[in-house]
Amino acid sequence: MFYRENGQFKASYVEDQQILGIRQDRWFIFGLIAFALFAVPYLASDYMFRAVLIPFLIVSLAAIGLNLLVGYCGQISLGHAAFMGIGAYAAYNLVVRFPQLNFILVLVLAGLIAALVGILFGLPSLQIKGLYLGVATLAAQFFIDWVFARVKWFTNYSPSGSVSTAPIEMFGFKFDTPTERYLLVLVVVIVFALMAKNLVRGHIGRSWMAMRDMDVAAEVIGIRPMYAKLSAFAVSAFYAGVAGAMWGFVHLGSWEPAAFSVNFSLNLLFMIIIGGMGSILGSFIGAAFIVLLPITLNQILPVLGGLVGMNFGTALASHMEFMIFGALIIFFLIVEPLGIARLWAIGKEKLRLWPFPH
């Protein structure tokens, strides 16, 4: 009833090409951003920031990166956490070796280094597709894991192999409290999400989607497969690198090589499958899902179990988590391969007509 675009006429291509074409959508998103920026810092508890909001935002960014590659360009990657690892260790080394660098610059440089590595491991995509490419990226994952576990230079010769970061400081301002860290992450994520959206609606995004949908036709149009695929790998790894650097510095604070293991890579893949392939919004939804589900289950299952007289320990809860994940992924692959974002889009389309059938 209220979700109508009646009377909203588009008189120019600029208006027609804006990201949120319908006024109600615009209000909703601006409202959401304003809420996240101005209201959440006063409402949420420290636990909420540490355990939910900060990981959710950072993981969303990584999921956006993976979605650019898998959802938009159609190239699979099973090693995206490794690119996050590259970003995290690159940022660590930059901070250790050049302590005077601004943190934002560190993030960007860490992203660029990850992008270079991404291009390197994207090279097989020029020759192989699908499952075979998946295996090649899995090799990247294990190789990068091995490098950070064995080559001591990257961990600055720390005896245990784990590294810990200095507090983040920018322009003389220290990001100590969870609220400040949350705001830092939020701003970075908003900016990068917007940039991702701009990329996919421009000609570079179209060349990625063309490669995904019909590579021969794309080539005939004059799109170079090498440029399209490698740029997707580079941008995707850049996002993963920035997310990884934030994961290390803002979320973890100190970590070991196992922090960026193949499990994390698969989780990222689950996020975009559940959230929605080829959708920036879907990356957020999927990330929220994967971050929130374990926490919710931990809270709810014991209560539910109490009702039916069963004792749910934490071990059982975590087993339940795996089972529910598995079931959901199978469900989405069969019923809606384009994920929750697609369901959301269908819902909106229906809502435009509601309560009328046509």
Partner: protein, 261 residues
């Protein structure tokens, strides 16, 4: 009768041979295409027509022969070079970008004209924005021309077949080609759709002066709209000339109708 303004030879195919393993798809095929003409390639199924187009725009690389395009002699073409020098094509079995809207499909056809870098694109500011708007305007002309305005935001997968064929043509047109290769543009269409498509092909040829090389099975269509026809059979050229010459060629009649008729 339409006013014709046929120019010099723009594309000259010389002794092209193409084999896949032991299968000889094309055997020493030669023909030329003049600027602004409508040139048809006909032949029974498996005659090598699509292979011929694939050689011209660089998807296949012939083992022998050479292709002279706009005076430049090449051993074989490469897809990027072909696209850049003004050869566009449509596909026999629709090769649209299924996940994208009609507008995005046509905009993708314009990809070569868009040069701004990744950073400018990500910021969507200044040159990137101006470029997007400029190319959008051009694509709107293509959309108007093909009369698909109501569908511009529709995902192509949802359109009926005849319209998808039109989008395929639009995507090729967006590149402003000098030579347009059409691979069975009217296959699977009903009479009205075929008439529409013929009209579009002739209009493209008239209004933009685009040279057209088309593969078609509908003999009525071929004889009506083309200036000259090449006939292939089992990878060999068996006829070449105006529609009337080809129609009366005994060799062509034999290939199409079988011996003894």
């Amino acid at each position: 009768m339409r006013q014709r303004n046929i120019g010099d030879v723009i594309l000259d195919v010389r002794n092209i041979s193409l084999a896949f393993g032991g299968v000889k798809a094309l055997q020493s095929i030669s023909f030329d295409v003049r600027e602004h003409e409508v040139r048809a390639i006909i032949g029974p199924n498996g005659a090598g027509k699509s292979s011929m187009l694939n050689c011209i725009n660089g998807v296949y690389h012939p083992q022998e022969g050479e292709i002279v395009y706009k005076g430049e002699v090449r051993r074989d073409m490469d897809t990027h070079h072909a696209a850049e020098s003004g050869i566009a094509r449509t596909f026999q079995n629709l090769a649209l970008f299924k996940g994208m809207s009609v507008l995005d499909n046509i905009m993708t056809g314009r990809n070569l004209k868009m040069k701004t870098g990744i950073l400018a694109q990500a910021l969507h500011f200044g040159p990137a924005r101006a470029e997007e708007l400029r190319e959008r305007e051009f694509c709107e002309h293509v959309i108007d021309f093909l009369e698909i305005q109501p569908y511009r935001k529709t995902p192509v997968g949802r359109l009926p077949y005849g319209l998808q064929k039109r989008v395929d043509l639009g995507r090729a047109l967006a590149a402003q080609p000098q030579v347009l290769l059409l691979d069975e543009p009217m296959a699977g269409m009903n009479v009205e759709e075929k008439q529409d498509m013929c009209r579009f092909v002739l209009d493209i040829n008239d209004e933009f002066g685009t040279t057209i090389v088309l593969i078609e099975h509908d003999m009525g269509v071929v004889m009506d709209i083309s200036d000259r026809v090449v006939v292939l059979d089992y990878g060999k050229k068996i006829g070449d000339g105006t529609p009337d010459e080809v129609r009366n060629d005994p060799e062509v009649i034999r290939a199409y109708l079988g011996a003894g008729h």
